[in-house]
Amino acid sequence: MTAKYKIIFFLPIALIIGMVLKMVLPTPNLNDAYRDYCWVKKTHSTEQFNILAIGDSRIYKGVNPTYLLDVNSEFNAVNLGYSSTGYSKEYLSFVSNRIKEKGKRVILSGITPYSFTPEALKNEHYKSFHDKNTMEVYKMLYLSVYLKSFPRYSPEEIWDYFTDASITYLYYNDFKENGWVKSYKFPFDSTAGLIPYRKNFVDNTSDDTAVEEYLNWVKKMSDKDVEIIGFRPPSTLAMEQLEDSLSGFNYSSFISKFKQNGGVWLTFSLKDYVSYDGSHLHYESANKFSKNLGLKIEKYLK
């Protein structure tokens, strides 16, 4: 075969091999190109919504906007949660810009004690996407998105698939364009989150000034007829007890001030939901929780 034909044939041969492999191999658990696209879109889109879900990873894994709209289908919704989000001025300003300027508007704000700690207020996860330069953002929004059709394969996943090996560990994260992350972990361990959280609160307890600033923001938004609905994202009883004892955050005092500033507080029963690690909801529970949340906010959207 001459070099000319080699140049002509190598691409079609690669395409055939690639297509055959794609048919034969299992779909990878993680599509990181699409993951990056989802985070960048969440951060840099200027689209405005009637319903926002804000807070930390318990929110972006626990509130699925699709189910919020089950009974509120005439509206649009997005999840603006990030890992270890703190209610800093910067984050609240980002949220304020994403709510519609007119009409019925609801902000669902997940309140965890960690959200008011100095470490959370750094908002490193949010900033890692916010601080990307225009070129990076453009690349991720308009170029990387095409990579979602070409996920990265892991030899281990392929090995497990073809050898029928029993899976001993799996951390599944499926990123959605609406900001929700469908997530679960195998094996379940409802105490796994306790150790890191215990460490998280060492020399890092709730900051009163940050709480005050958040409550002022609630007042400001309520005055603009935006309904701020606060709630404690469901986790486990052990986690709630740990947070209450170590965080320095007083829920009852917070809730009364929150209501005084115009916010609406909702409570949910822990036993209705399952957390896979003691902190985050299994995706089935997240859907159930979102459906309930959707029903509870229906009256505020009428």
Binding site: A3, R152, P155, E156
Partner: protein
Amino acid sequence: MVFNSLEFLFFGLLFFLLWPLFKKKDTSRWLYLVSASFLFYGWWDWRFIFLIIGSGLIDYFSGLWIEKFPKYRKYSLILSLIGNLGSLSIFKYSLFFATSLDSLLLKFGVHSNLANNIPEFALILPVGISFYTFQSLSYTIDIYRGRLKPTKNLLHFFSYLSMFPQLVAGPIVRAKDLLKQLTKVPSVNSLQVWHGIKLIVFGLFQKVVIADNLSLFIDSAFSGSKYYEGPAYWWFVMVAFAFQIYCDFSGYSLIARGLAKTMGYHFKMNFNHPYLSSSLKEFWGRWHISLSTWFRDYVYIPLGGARRGIYFGLLFLWVTMLLSGLWHGANITFVIWGAMHALFLTLERFYAKVKFFSRIPKGLLILITFIQAVVAWVFFRAESFDQSITVLKSMFMFQSSDFKFLTTYFDAMIFLGTAIIIELVILFKRYKISVQSVYQRYNLDVLFISIALVAIVMFRGEGQQFIYFQF
């Protein structure tokens, strides 16, 4: 801009689309090459284009003056040396020298605090500075030695100095090899294009599939997490690093050569399967060839080389290796890495005289050489001298090993195995001519390149910068 990025894919496609339009006339060809190269470099930080222009102008004029004023040629060369080594010292070594001096003076009770007074701009390491300054230096030194005629055309000079395939991480192309090529209209036939494609695809495979997939395993080991310990674990980590750095850098060089070949230019081979060497002397003839020959031609031989007897020869060898270590990074660990190689090379010169060692089977010699390289890599990779010692102790302590890391890093082990198998196949191919002929008869290169391309897409690691960018 890095070769394994989407930006480069578009840049490369656009460049090669327009290349035939510009390549026919000298001026348009050079202008196009220089503009594209500055765009390529400026994508990282456009401000440092001026550094290349600045040091390039010094060398361009130094070259002209050496020829025009032969009586003062030494001063022109000194100007070039000051320009290049000066910018290298400021941007790469100022912090290292300042902290070293601070700690030295502190021993005499003097608090100098030089490190904190370095201007902020000098703390940024311009990408590829070590490569293009060495390339530029070779130009003026060769003119000084009468081995090269300076170019009178500034665009011609800058198209040599800044040519994007090799600008940021080599190979360090000599002016005498490339300047002449750049004066001709490059013609490319389909065989050259096919060779270019093969080099680019295999280079990307080495970088994206092997090196990037090994990085998680190695980085977590050196992050100090201490999840795993024991000699077996650290030997695996270091062997993985040996292949990561090889595939990362060799991959870059192959892509650079492939791009040049597709444009119609020829860069010499920079890596020739170094881990198949049966001595460290051979290793240095196969590893980063453009740098090792640079040090040989511009440091070792001018010092006196082997001509002044065995002991002076060894002294010059040590000087060259220590400088080579320092070239890689402004840290004592890199200098020790150079010293380790100098030590092993010294021992090798003595062993060569003992008859017993000539009877050792070649396979065993290859293994011994590889182990020496792996041990030296510890200093190259470790974050500090203390960490190097800890890792070396772990590697050579006789204690039980926990092999759980093999399942945790299953993917990394698969890619490490792939890299080793590829090298073994090359070794096998080298001695079994029949394999070579089967390979050619059935055009297996088309199949292998197609498979490599599929692997690049489906088994790519998390995008990483090329390791050698930091040098």
